[in-house]
């Protein structure tokens, strides 16, 4: 089996994986990081989003081997020293989650948006999040949370 080395949540990882192993399977099964979720099989729902070298990717649509040498951040790696990342805190303040299943992917996707576009409009946020399904919240509080986080970071 091919060998794979990468960093996950700042920690070096060296494993053997099958060629067909998806990145999300590496994270969930091999590394026990079950915060990244699988919600569909056609790459639409976004529950599997992680950050790869700072950019959001759908980990269900990448082979683990494609992440060789990369720095992957999962939801477990977002909070620093027990303190919630501003996006996590914004989600909490604005009730931007209910069942929590879409939340890891949603948060990381939003983190990437603000990294690229620190002052997005409501329309921009909604367009960006088209690849993240939520069945619980109707997106109302999610969009509010992202806009609030953007504002807080600018102010």
């Amino acid at each position: 089996m091919p060998a794979l080395s990468l960093h996950v949540n700042e920690r070096p990882v060296s494993v053997e994986v099958e060629g067909r192993t998806l990145l999300v399977e590496l994270l969930r099964e091999k590394l026990g990081l079950t915060g990244t979720h699988v919600g569909c099989d056609t790459s639409q729902c976004g529950a599997c989003v992680v950050l790869l070298d700072g950019r959001s990717v759908k980990s269900c649509t990448m082979l683990a081997l494609e992440a060789a040498g990369a720095r992957v951040t999962t939801i477990e790696g977002l909070a620093l020293d027990g303190e919630l990342h501003p996006m996590q805190e914004a989600f909490r303040q604005h009730h931007a989650l209910q069942c929590g299943f879409c939340t890891p992917g949603m948060v990381l996707s939003a983190v990437d948006l603000l990294a690229r576009s620190p002052d997005p409009s409501e329309a921009e946020v909604r367009h960006w999040l088209e690849g993240n399904f939520c069945r619980c919240t109707g997106y109302h509080n999610i969009v509010k949370a992202v806009l609030a986080c953007a504002k807080a970071r600018r102010g």
């Binding site: 303040q93 929590g100 909604r126 999040l129 993240n132 109707g138 969009v143």
Partner: protein
Amino acid sequence: MRRREDRRFLTGRGRYTDDLRRPGELHAALVRSTLAHARIRALDVAAARAAPGVAAVFTGADLEAAGVGSLPCGWLVRSHDGTPMAEPPHLPLARERVRHVGDPVAVVIAETRAEARAAAAFVEADLEELPAVVSCRDAIRAGAPLVWDQIPGNTCYTWEIGDAAATEAAFARADHVVSLDLVNNRLIPNAIEPRAALGEYDPARDFYTLTTSSQNPHVIRLLMGNFVLHLPEHKLRVISPDVGGGFGSKIFHYAEEAIVTWAAGRLARPVRWTAERSESFVSDAHGRDHVTRAELALDRAGRFLGLRVRTVANLGAYLSTFSSSVPTYLYGTLLAGPYRTPAIHCQVRGVFTNTVPVDAYRGAGRPEAAYLLERLVDRAAGELGLDRVELRRQNLIPPDAFPYQTPVALEYDSGNYQATLDRALEAADWKGFEARRAESARRGRLRGIGISTYVEACGLAPSRLAGQLGARAGLYESALVRVHPTGSVTVLTGSHSHGQGHETTFAQIAAERLGIPLEQVEVVHGDTELVPFGMGTYGSRSLAVGGTALVKALDKVVAKGRRIAAHLLEASGADVEFEGGAFRVAGTDRKVTFPEVAFAAYVPHDYPLEELEPGLEESAFYDPANFTFPGGCHICELEIDPETGATRVLQVTAVDDVGTVINPLIVEGQIHGGLAQGIGQALLEGCAYDADGQLLTASYMSYTMPRASDLPFFQVGSCVTPCTHNPLGVKGVGEVGSIGVPPAVMGAVLDALAPLGVRDLDMPATPERVWRAIQAARDRN
């Protein structure tokens, strides 16, 4: 009040069923029919059994030989003539015939998920294709293929409610009759967490454990233990851990739950299964799917005289756990809506088809009722030249008419439909709409506004009444309040939380009633080993029924605390007051705190042991006196591009009366979620089958889920008329969004298209359908 459960969800520490790992676990893959209707001539599992990593392959024959039973239906509905509904078997793995695409015929169990799925492809099912019947309309045609040979006309039941004679008379004397043929489109719930189940067997104790993504673990234990696997309940534990959304689809006892539990016993190793999304599409219960002719009789002034409804409801190929009740007792009983219609008669024919079973989905019967009522009222306004709002207003049940006995069994306890209507009109700036319509027209867009006034029934349910109507279960709820020696509290509730925030709201209730800090309360749910028997979460019942059970248990704790305090304070119980977390002798400043009383209960040295047992722990089971009746008004404003048929939702206003509001943030969140699903039904979502029973919308590529870019911010307001029959005054909120908004959206679409001559359109009003309707109207003119 922010939610306490959020910490684990935000940091990736939720524990959903597929997150759990067990040593030695095996993975199950189901082999499912790719034909809608076929005879199973042979099932060859030899190649699958020999595949790498495979521990076992089981078929329906294996389950039958082992005595595994049929998945039960929990509600016996009788036809009008008293005949019990047709109740065909529902085997966990099909024998002899497959009856829908997705019907499972075998399970392959292997060391890894990949090996199980690979080996599943080696199972050879020799199927002799049979003609399939898919739609409600086709199911009742003469000569239609039969899903069940022994069930003529594919008819499960023909159920009625109301007064046929009075309704006939109303129609006979009516000045005007409005008639509509309506479809309530089939939906697929699509909670983002796919269903999952993990079965375990402990030979040391001869004990089974099922962990499952369920909304109601006790119900699963009862149904699976008693009817399917014949395991006594005390030898079976069912755990619903974190669950990623349910919306009804995770209420039912599914084949996979029984299969993994049984297989774990057979193989003496844990067996787990998680659905792939495409598998969810053909195995999760679907929702809605009604075809209806609805007629409203009015006098010339616009007063509603009578309502006549004929519905054919698609039940799918098998009876799912509550499927029989959804198009009957959760539908026909809501046909008064918020109106004073004096005579109502409804007939529902539940039919089998070669499709996935249909059961409760957010709203469960009430969206279907609200939709036909509001479409009829809009049509009546149009035909009579009356204002849509005023026609509703003049027929609304007035605020002083409560309790109001409807002609369809239910008695509403409280409501103020005029207030929610007025508040919604104001918030939506109904008056200013025509100016906005003109502005849209200048940009080449068709703007429309739609309104819906609704009542729904939830807070399920009074057990005795439900039993009379055919329910095979009770519908009470349980709560156990365990006070610890040092005064902190664990609340165990039969309600399950899969997004509703009970770990926060139930803790709020306990903390408030006991006068202790919120941090001193822990809420536990979802484990049959820990929690007294409860019926679980659906039908917007958690606060109304589960919350009331909690209040009753808390009251018992306080009552016992008062007796302990009286002893400690050397006062009579009648003189002891409880307030702000302390028991006080009335009129003095002598007191003992709640933690002091708790400690005394568990270290009973200074304690009335002759009269009172030590300890401080009380439970309650609460059976509600009635359903609860939220009501409200939803208004939708949207814009259509006539060139493409595309609709943009501009504003959604929802003013709902859900009774007392405990946590406004959570209540609004529930409304938002329901609105999104309701807009999804109206504009985006439609489950489509072809004539052979192949599911065309079998993935997110073709089933249109609402996305963030499809929806605006919602405008949510409230009116409160407390529920009169529970101590919290709450009515329930989880489903109101999906009940009230679809007709408001369709009303807006038709309002936008009316100038082009479009009079009718079924949900979902997709761009293609809107565009075609515009073309057809143009061709007509």
